[in-house]
Symmetry: C2
Subunit: 165 residues, 2 copies
Amino acid sequence: MSPGEPERPGRQEHTAQPDQAEQAEIAELAVELQRLLLVSSRILRSHTASQAVSASQFSVLAHLDRAGESTPGALADFEHVSPPVMTRVLGRLGRAGLVDRTAHPEDGRQVRVTLTAAGRELVRAGRAERDAWLRSRLDGISAAERESLREATALLRRTLVPPRD
Amino acid sequence: MSPGEPERPGRQEHTAQPDQAEQAEIAELAVELQRLLLVSSRILRSHTASQAVSASQFSVLAHLDRAGESTPGALADFEHVSPPVMTRVLGRLGRAGLVDRTAHPEDGRQVRVTLTAAGRELVRAGRAERDAWLRSRLDGISAAERESLREATALLRRTLVPPRD
DNA sequence: TATTGTTATACTCTATAACTATA
DNA sequence: TATAGTTATAGAGTATAACAATA
């Protein structure tokens, strides 16, 4: 350990690792994580490209099915996209007859977004087929490994995704 | 456990969980994973949007820095994109003076892709700043948590990314 | 004046199909 | 005939800036 470096409890768990090595270790993890996200997103997309609606669109439909209704702004916030992007997504979903956009009962600036019957049907029937490829992959690993993935998923969400509300 | 269901060793680890519950558990993990990949990719992109080259482009440069040289087809395969996509990426990188495309010495059909001096400079200098945001996030969690992430990253790669070569 | 949503514009990412050149 | 790469075409995804309507 280099002289003059004060101990910093809380940053170092149980090893007396110098800071520089720790930073290098973090940098390497960042690179691996970045690449995994880049590549696995492409792979996942290629396996859902033949679906009726894209992953982005389905995510909005699924949220509406859970929440009942929402507004373009709230949906954009939840999905972490800019408002114009959500306008486009809702435009497509609307033209496909999957969502309705009606006047907001209380605030004339806002728009009330709801699922149509067809939209509700699609999201509920589609869930099973939707993640078929991903599920087939998860089916091939052990229950203990899936538990690890579950914990890592939650950890990654806490680490990367800023809290909403 | 439902009657008539035979035991299937290897599918069930240490619990006597019925298949249906296991399938539901897998489906839920698939949904969480899909959403994490969708959202975290967006967040990560928004934090690297101001960089000189996009994540896709940088990934190609970094691979070339490691491998020394490659071909469009091999790069497309490694990056999990279609050949025309790689043509476009290389076109941009070439116009930016970061890669050279020269005649392949042995096979006239192939193209030899190499880094220019500027390309090598960019990838080496850029690595530090590139993942600054991601590293800042990883810096905020414990060493034990990072170790979990490292293992989960490797597991996810094994599970989702088909082996190359 | 601030908020909500949309439109306009521009760029990246992505794929399939058709084409050229070489083996 | 098969392979490597590019071009052509089309669409989704993304953002910022400018605008309209309402609070």
